[in-house]
């Protein structure tokens, strides 16, 4: 493999990593607060892609009054995409809150595996809802956003979409990190993740904090879903599963419950996977991701950035 292919795969890997990082944040936020694996999160990603696609098709259809504005100029396209992403994020964020209220909140004091099974149920439900009520086949994602190679170096090129994905991911990660570490609400979230009971006694509204986590996580997942649709050019009901599992892997890799860890894990996993796809066969790229996960967990069970947890007696 030549150097330019390696660099090209690195570029692809960083792009993929940006999406993984966005999804991984949802897993890590929920796990940090509720100590539960939200299996339905991959369906938030899928749902986001569908909502984004729906908005895009609606706003650019000929019958929509302002479609000329949205497709005409560069500014119009920018506004179009801001609307598409905002609507997808808010709609899926609300869906996430509804799911938490319906499927997880009644189980807060149940045995530990019960919410996991409930989440799996939600995931099966949403996947089949998309299959039955939207389409069983992949829907092509229209290429409204111009994809042009912007930077070329050492034989590899970076296109505008890749830059958009990575830049947006980094900005969102930065905003979220600032929100969690600097604001009052973020402080409440951190307190809740350390000790839910004690935080409640200190006057923090636990239900509000949990609902917020279930809004932010799915909203970020939805953004990643729209990116995934734009990047690969198609949206299908089963698209959530593999990226979902890999992003959870990324969250564990970085140290689950740790926001910066999820970001690091996401980018790392994306890069490793792309390099593996280049060096080995594409068929084994998923295996490489999982083998790395297993090795990290054996030798550094807390993840890369997680502190080693001492078992309490």
């Amino acid at each position: 493999m030549t150097a330019d292919v390696i660099i090209q795969q690195l570029v692809n890997g960083v792009t993929l990593g940006g999406m993984y990082a966005l999804i991984a944040l949802g897993y890590t936020l929920v796990y940090g607060i509720l100590l539960m694996i939200n299996f339905a999160h991959s369906e938030m990603f899928m749902g986001g892609a569908y909502v984004g696609l729906g908005m895009l098709l609606l706003l650019t259809s000929k019958s929509f009054p302002a479609h000329a504005f949205f497709t005409g100029s560069a500014f119009g396209i920018l506004v179009l995409y801001v609307i598409v992403f905002a609507v997808a994020a808010i709609a899926i964020g609300i869906l996430g809150m509804v799911i938490e209220r319906v499927a997880y909140r009644p189980l807060r004091h149940a045995p530990r595996l019960a919410p996991l099974i409930s989440a799996i149920g939600v995931s099966i439900f949403l996947q089949n809802a998309a299959l039955l009520w939207i389409d069983s086949k992949a829907i092509p994602f229209p290429r409204v956003f111009p994809v042009t190679p912007l930077v070329t170096f050492a034989g590899a090129s970076v296109n505008s979409l890749q830059i958009l994905i990575v830049a947006t991911s980094l900005i969102l990660l930065f905003v979220l990190d600032t929100f969690i570490s600097r604001t009052r609400v973020g402080k409440a979230m951190r307190a809740t993740s350390q000790d839910r009971e004690a935080a409640g006694l200190m006057g923090i509204d636990i239900n509000y904090v949990i609902s917020l986590a279930f809004f932010i996580g799915p909203a970020l997942g939805a953004v990643a879903g729209v990116f995934h649709g734009m990047y690969y050019g198609a949206v299908v009901f089963s698209m959530g599963f593999i990226p979902g599992i890999k992003s959870f892997t990324a969250a564990v890799l970085g140290g689950i419950g740790n926001l910066r860890g999820a970001m690091l894990g996401g980018f790392l996993l994306g890069i490793v996977e792309s390099l593996a796809a280049g060096f080995l066969s594409t068929g084994y790229k998923d295996v490489v991701a999982f083998i790395i996960l297993i090795l990290v967990l054996i030798f550094r069970p807390g993840g890369l950035l997680g502190e080693s947890v001492v078992e309490k007696v």
């Binding site: 100590l35 939600v122 039955l132």
Partner: protein
Amino acid sequence: MDIRTSVDAAKMSPLKLAIYAGLCLLVFIAPIWFQGFGQLFLVRILAIVGIYVMLALGLNIVVGYAGLLDLGYIAFYAIGAYTGILGGLPLSHWLAATFPQYPWLPGMSYFIMIPFAALAGAITGITLGTPVLRLRGDYLAIVTLGFGEIVRIALNNNIFGITNGAAGLPKAGESVPKPFPLEWLQNHLYFSWPNFGSTGFNFTFTANVYWYYIIVLLCVFTIFVVRRLDDSRLGRSWTAMREDEVAAASMGINITGAKLYAFSLGALWGGMAGITFANFQGFVSPESFTFMESVFVVSIIVLGGMGSVPGAIVGALVIQGVPELIRGMASSGLLQTLTGIQVSAEAQSAISNYRYLVFGALMVIMMAWKPQGILPSKRRARELAPESEAALDESNQTLYDAQHDTAHPGEDR
């Protein structure tokens, strides 16, 4: 709840005995009945449910008894299935280049391969378990999930050049040998009463019926083993370990050893269920071993009640049986015969399409309604689970009751 409850439960009342006898008879008669009336799909569904009962009981050792969440259990099932089929392939598959003069040599049959499949599962379990069992609960879950995916992807990519990738095994033109008395039974065991019922009763001993009985026997064997295990010294150390690992270790229980036993025993059962499934189907391909299958097996245990044998059976019936049953009944027209409702072709396909949607919703409702499962095991219901506040409240309640009881000694409740 006190100790006496469990001692009394060991003695069976005549009513309970009669119920068990009736159930046994039902299990024995059901396939003959369905086969005789031409409802072949029901025999098949029952056999598949039986395989899932085995899988659930095997995983129950890991999840229910030892408290280790394994989300990649299906990997051991896959390894058992592939071991069985690879051993069952005709020798010409392997040696055609060396000995072209013996194209007729058959492969090893099911009964010869079953110990090898079980062993293959157990060895894989030990190999995976040795490094990863030190991990805490959720990390173990994700590592096993990863392992399950690795196995499936490896099979799909034709690992070592022997699994034939996504196309599956055996290849066209090859087949695995029929196990010992099946051929004879198929040719000799049939009878019919043309005047019985409206359609007449025509029974032929088919491969489905044969595998159904094999699977039932294996289930009975599994139930016997897991019940003995639960009451054994090992089973008690699992219980202790599940409730409090540190306390169990200080009592002298070898934690790593106990975990490894649980993991490899579970894997052994996975391998056995796998080879049975593979021979029953006569074919394996990687798509039978997706992550969703692992999820289904875990759901069976949690839905039925962790650590509970009847729970696993009921769970398998609900999770694997009901969706298949709905689909089979809709497509075979039985639904119409039974309920008298005219089922159109569109309605049939709608029923079959909506079954997973309903299933997903049912899982959520079930967990909200009864998170301990349908038939929780008695011991588990009594136990103190420190992570769940509801159980803590319950146990405090019991302590309170016990104190009150000691205030009035000799009083019979």
